[in-house]
Symmetry: C2
Subunit: 381 residues, 2 copies
């Protein structure tokens, strides 16, 4: 189905040249309700999900009582009702126009939780429905939007088939994954079909924060409190990058590029140098790891800003810039997490950084990684 | 039993004033064989362990084939045989005299694994035997040695009783714990009796790296390879500090001081600032946490050097000093891990740091924390 919206109305064309444009790498559209997915499901799965009163993919509710409105910004509900971020026009009014967006990279809300389900056939069917819904209701409505191929990674062969089915859509730029893996770590051989399909379709692999439960295991301690659990999110990222590096994934798939959003980034210097130390001492045990781990991180991985570290003491603020420079100013991508409550307004979150680094983080790094047009040179302006 | 060794022979008296002295916060003595513990066990437990051919506390073997000699330096076996670091005189010859030690803080090898055992009565009995053995065979042999109260933390009430039994020994300076907790996180209320006993006896609580298995749970990914597992060790430290802070332990026990050895330290800036961020946003959920998390870390916690981060690229070496300064040069303690293979020779590991910071890390910080005499002003010299 073709979009009926003209080029003039898309966010990219509206970019103001006197304000730094934004490429947001973490936006979570929702259907108005889960019934919107029905047209994209087979009769079998539509009846099955309807009969069992499926509650959708939103995570966490059964485990903990978390912040108000199940984590959605109260004001992200469109005037006509429905879930947060379930209206293209309201999203553009509330976010893309207000903050001078060039592009928004969409990752349908909480679909990374599909990979936690032991019902892998159901998860595979729902992932596929989400992709068709995403293309018809979002990507085709605005040419500045970019999409994520939703997959059920507990069946890597089916996941690869889904990547091949929709990954060639011109607005699809990444495969959307959970930072938790359903079995073993992301470095395990079982996931190779996913990386192969991503490389074959020229897609980045993007890992998003998720919640333990189902097939996803918690860390060494299951946090008792929400701020404790939020702080623990970064641990899973560290363990998975460690698994990917020592599993040899990036030696086998040298074209693979990975993005890690909503798990922070300030743990990266320690992780790189600790992996380097142990690799030097113990490389006899992993002879397939040829390049130093830190080099592999620098060549293959990018990181979202969310959550941004904010030291409590004024005298510690310089540490933020020091840490960003250790990682590389070209490795960090702006990620708002809209419509979730942690939303970072782009020009507020990075206000204390120098302008050249803000430009890199707000749009230049993502523009280069995803091959997007330069919003400052757009022909539409 | 009183020591028969004169004051003149202790390591402290032998400190050379022209070389920076060393206080080593991580030395692991072993019995020559586990039968050495028999005199300190009741008839019941001696017969029980003998009959079931108990293999001792050394961890890891059933889970992974790790480095040569089960992780002990090959040259740490005394000439007369036995386990690594099982002879006081050989330890002094190989380590304390050679590296100009003022003090060695002992933590009987792998006894932190006792807390992983579901047989908590057995673990409690063995912990107690280790303490009596440690006092008789090590502490009483050299007045420069300091000891750790070994406990079985899966029974916190019995553990507190053991701390009260031997914690007042003049050379006991800390309670020895595993970074893995047997149930829940270290922030759980169940462990309050341990912290109370530590404060009551004026002891630091020191957490040492351990191995998942038994009651200890692994992280979100159980690493497939040894360098991957070594890198994952730091994740458990981060999760446990997070649990301690948000559980309110340091608000309730304001005199408590904690040391974290063999889990690294370079992840700390990220952890402090991430906890601060989430505490500011979500403190309604943890009203008992009054002080910012980073302030609690700075007031209550110290960190061992082992493993020291070693960046692969020459141009990244300045990051090590930057990170140490973020944490505070007064918070890091030298830890060799003798007789384990990761042993860091004190003057090599820190060679690239400025002299004033090397002095802080090699002895001054530990001297202040543990209330040890200043080796440069020793009356014996």
């Amino acid at each position: 189905m073709m979009s009926t919206i003209s080029v003039k109305s898309n966010a990219q064309a509206a970019v103001k040249k006197n304000v730094i444009p934004v490429i947001d790498c973490d936006v979570h559209p929702n259907p108005r309700s889960y019934e919107d997915l029905n047209p994209y499901l087979s009769d079998y799965w539509r009846d099955f999900l309807t009969d069992c009163k499926w509650k959708g993919v939103f995570p966490g509710i059964p485990i903990m009582a978390i912040v108000a409105n199940a984590g959605h910004r109260m004001d992200s509900i469109p005037p006509e009702g429905g879930l947060g971020c379930s209206s293209v026009s309201f999203f553009k009014e509330q976010v893309t126009d207000r903050y001078n967006y060039a592009n928004a990279i969409l990752f349908p809300d909480s679909t990374f939780m599909l990979s936690a389900s032991p019902q892998h056939e159901m998860a595979t069917a729902v992932a596929s429905a989400y992709n068709d819904w995403q293309i018809e209701h979002w990507l085709s409505k605005d040419s500045s939007f970019r999409g994520s191929v939703v997959i059920a990674s507990q069946d890597p062969v089916e996941a690869a088939r889904e990547i091949d089915r929709v990954g060639s859509h011109p607005q699809m730029v990444q495969v959307g994954l959970s930072i938790h893996s359903p079995y073993g770590g992301w470095g395990d051989k079982r996931y190779h079909p996913i990386w192969e399909a991503a490389v074959r379709n020229g897609l980045v692999c993007t890992f998003h924060v998720s919640v333990p439960g189902g097939l996803f295991r918690p860390g060494p301690v299951l946090g008792n409190y929400y701020p404790e659990g939020q702080t623990n999110n970064g641990l899973t990222y560290q363990a998975q990058i460690n698994s990917i590096i020592f599993g040899g994934v990036l030696e086998k798939y040298q074209e693979l590029r990975m993005v890690f959003v909503e798990g922070g980034f300030a743990w990266l210097p320690n992780l790189m140098y600790t992996m380097d130390t142990h690799w030097r001492n113990l490389r006899r045990e992993v002879p397939w790891v040829k390049r130093p781990p830190s080099q592999q991180v620098r060549e293959h991985m990018w990181f979202g800003t969310q959550p941004f570290i904010e030291p409590e003491r004024h005298e510690d603020e310089e540490h933020v810039l020091q840490i960003i420079k250790m990682i590389g100013t070209n490795k960090i991508l702006f990620a708002s997490d809209y419509p979730h409550w942690e939303f970072d307004a782009p020009h507020v979150a990075l206000a204390k950084l120098p302008k050249d680094i803000r430009e890199q983080i707000l749009y230049k790094n993502a523009m280069e990684l995803f091959g997007l047009p330069d919003p400052m040179k757009s022909e539409n302006n």
